[in-house]
Structure formats: C-alpha cells, structure tokens
Amino acid sequence: MRARGLTRRELLRGALAAGVSGAALAACSRGNERPARSDDWSPGRSLPWRNWSGIESCVPAQRGVPASEQELTALLRDAPAPLRPAGTGHSFSALVPSAGTLVFLDALAGITASDAARFEAEVWTGTRLSQLGPALAALGQAMPNLPDIDYQTLGGAIATSTHGTGATLGSLASRVTELTLATPAGELLRCDARENAELFHAARTSLGALGVVTRVRLANRAAFRALEVSRFVELDALLAGLAHERDANRHFEFYAFPHADVALAIATNESAEPPRKSGADDPEAVYLLRSLFRLTRRVPGLGARLYDAFLRHQPPTQHLDASHAVLAHPRTVPFNEMEYTVPAAAGPECIRAVLAEIRARDLPVCFPIECRFVRADDVWLSMFHERDGFTISIHQYVDEDWRPYFAAIEPIFWKFGGRPHWGKLHSLDAPRLSELYPRWSDFARVRRSLDPGGRLTNAHLARILGG
C-alpha cells in the first residue's frame, strides 16, 4: 500500500502544525535503504531472480521466455523441474523460487480479441495490468475493478486471487469467463463455466500449480471515469458507519493507523466530470510518517497526541481520471505484507482486535493498515469463495523485520476464520488451509490429474498444497 492522500508537503505542514520541528524530522528521516543480503549479486555471478520486496530469490537453471503457446508447452514438457511461472515477482510468498525453470510470459502480452457489444476481451496473461488499462480504454472498455497497484501481470494477479475494493465487485479472477491452460504434459486446454467446468473453477486461482494459464477472456464494462476522494476521519465513527460507507460508494476502503485514533477513508465512484486532481499523491510519504512516529514516541504521553494531531491535520485529496489511472497507484516504498480475508460481517471487530493487540504489545509499527471489501465468488481457491470478504493488510518496511509483527497479529485472523492471501506472507500449511476451503479436495484431484509428477511443485507449494 501507500499512504494515499499523504504527501511530504502536507505531512510537513501537518507536523509543523502539530508542533514537531521540521529540522528534527529531517534529521531522523532515514532508513529507506534496502538491506544488503549475503547473496547480493555482483558482476561475474549468475543472475538471480528476486521478488519485489527482495526476501525471496533463486538462481534457476533455465529461464524460459516462450514466444508462442507451442514454445510454452514444449518448455513445460521438457525443461528442468520444478517449473514455476514468475509473473513480475510481486508476490511476497515463495510461489516462484525454483532451481529448475522459471517461465516468463513477457512475450505473450496484449489483447488478442475483443467483443465491443459484450465488452469482452481476450488477453494474454503476460500482459501487465499497467499496460492493460490503456489498451482496454482504446477499445472503449475497462476492467470493473483494479488492485491498488498495477505492476503485476494479469496471469499472476488472477492466479493469486488479487483484488481491489468494492462490496459489489469481485476479484480479478471472478471476471474471467474463459481460459486456456498449458499443462505439464504439453497440452493446451480451453475451459469455461460450461465446458470443462471443473477445470475452470480450479484453474482461475491455481498458483501455477496446474499449468500456465496463457489467455483469458475478461468480462469488462464500458470505459468510465472514477473520482477518488480521500479524507481523514475518526476511526470509531468510521467503523460505526462502515456499512453505510460500504454501500454508498462503488469502491470504499480505509487505512487504519497503528497507535492513532484516526483513519484515512477513501471513497471512489463513477463520475462524468472532466479529469482533475487536488492534493498530490506521494508514494514515499510513508517514510516521513515513520520519522514522525519515531520522533513522537520519544515523548511519552504528549508524543502520541502530537502524532494523532498531525494525522488529523491532513487535508482531503481528490483524483478524477480514467478508471485505470485512479484505481491503481504508483508505489515505490518497499515493504513486506501479510493479508487475511475474514467474513465481511466480522471485519470491524477483527480490525479493532488487530489495533488493540498492537497497542497492548506496544509494537513499534506505524505502516498504515489497509482494509477493503470484496464480493464473494465461485472460484475454488479464491479467498472469497462463497463468502463476501473483508481484507486486512498489514505491512512492515523492508528494512525492518516483519516476523515479530506478523506473528503477533496472525493468530487474530485465525480466530475470525481468515484466509491468507496466496501471494502474501502467512504461516499456514496444507492441513490448516484445507479446513478453510470447501472445494480443497476437488482442487487437489484436478491437480493430481494434471501434474501427477509434481513438475510444477516447489518447496512452498509442497507446504501449502501438499507434495
């Protein structure tokens, strides 16, 4: 996430208004370096693969960049195992690392067909979401919803049930109406809700465990403009009226701030007005937020009030533009993340419990906690399978240890029946995960039939899906 609505300019103004010295703030505003690792690359060494946050890496024996589905099926059949599709590497979990073969679909990108009357498009899954928005807009189409960022490939986003926010809007996987799967046996299988229906329900969110999805047909809608309005509000008041905000806005989410009593509420709705923007979006403002947090913690009692006051001082921001330009945001502050989806009705109680635990343990964390709504779907391994979801995402700066923070909070999610995001950090294994998904055994059966030799199974998949 990023601190939407926060800018360094406004943060500085807020800090000054709260009585925090700008000079003192500047003096402690350091720590945005990525930590050095023992396996850091230097010239002359084999080129590694690394994920976005840098905590996962590998040196594969082979990198495959197929230029056609035929090249891909040959690769899946013949290249050294384990074979893992890599997307853009934005997942925090170890879905990708392999000493065998990494498969990149960078050459299989773009829109292959479209239906203007039905607002549908068939898209190569190597397409990055950042490229897809403008390409669909040129056809008069738009995806109904997008995640907070658009750096991922379409294939990676669907494979992990990636989502945006909106109580009436499902995950990206729920918008797939047809797909083509390249299997480890070297076959190409097409499926939809009527033809090969079991494969369709299993393959949409399948973590690259069944094969590599090459193409999907997306159910889109007419292109539209969206207006995003961000404002700071009292957390208690927000939670008391959350159902209203959820139902009154096409998209609604909020960020809770550990150790503060305010939240950043973000409502996004369709608009026919011309594009406009007030209040710049600064993806690096969370560094300044951390500096303020650390500085104010040095002053017991008064510091907490100063921190709270500075957050309250932030003015609202607005952004109106094409939907793909508003719903996704630039993000450059590296972090690690855990996200669980709890039943929608339990959301407010769960986030209260998370914030209370942070205070009770006095955890020194300040990265805002993102809370979103997602509609239920019928995808077997979707976190939203047959239940509306409330997602809670906690983050830690990449130069700080995420383990103690996430370990303290994760059991709270378990109490609420939470399902972990497949692409984010969690500690559950296959036996625990199987209890959360009613169609788990059906998925396992399809997996055994398509990959009986486990050519697509790396160590992480063996842990979370079984070997």
Partner: protein
C-alpha cells in the same frame, strides 16, 4: 535523502516543478525485447513523474548516479535499490538486457559520446 528533503522544501514553497523531458537519448539502440521491457516496465516509473524514481532525460538527476559507474548501477538494478525493485521486476531480462536498459535509462551511452 538530501535531494528529497530539498524537493519537499521546494514543494512547500510552492515552486515544485517535477515535469522533465522524458525522452531517452534517441541514438541508444535496444533490441526489440529490450525496447518492450523499457516501454512496459522501466517507463512505468522512470517516465512517470511523482514516483520518486529519477526520470529519463533528467541530466541533473542522472549525472551523479552515472559517476558511481555502470557496474554499481547494474548491481543496484539487480539487487534492488531504495524504491527500485530487484531486476526492475524484469525477471525475463538477461544481464545483457539489464546493462542495455541501464545505459538507456540513465543516459550513459549518450553521456559517453559527449
């Protein structure tokens, strides 16, 4: 970090102008795959004002970075550096690709000819 604070203070004074000429040096040759990587990956930050990344064509921003040497810039690209994710998220890129893209984005090739 110093430049960021300078930028923040400039913004406070209402005099911030982040728009730059974002065209890379035209005479740097990229392969088709490298050009695709630039358009779909590098440009999403290095040609997009406001992300914190140094913009292509911003000679002031790149001059001091180029002084670190090509090997340092390539190593930072592979390992990740501040907001720059490892490999720039181009897992499909080879070392040759990354070296070409670093030269292209940073303006190294053009600078050597000056």
């Amino acid at each position: 970090m110093r430049w960021r604070w300078a930028l923040a203070l400039l913004c406070l004074a209402g005099s911030c102008s982040c728009e730059r000429d974002r065209e890379p040096a035209a005479d740097v040759q990229l392969s088709a795959a490298q050009a695709r990587a630039y358009q779909t990956i590098c440009a999403s930050c290095h040609a997009r004002p406001g992300t914190g990344a140094p913009l292509v064509g911003d000679e002031v921003a790149w001059r001091e970075r180029r002084a670190l040497g090509a090997e340092t810039l390539v190593a930072r690209t592979v390992n990740g550096w501040r907001g720059m994710p490892p490999l720039g998220t181009c897992g499909a890129c080879s070392e040759t690709d990354l070296r070409a893209l670093v030269a292209y984005v940073s303006g190294s090739a053009a600078a050597e000819r000056r």
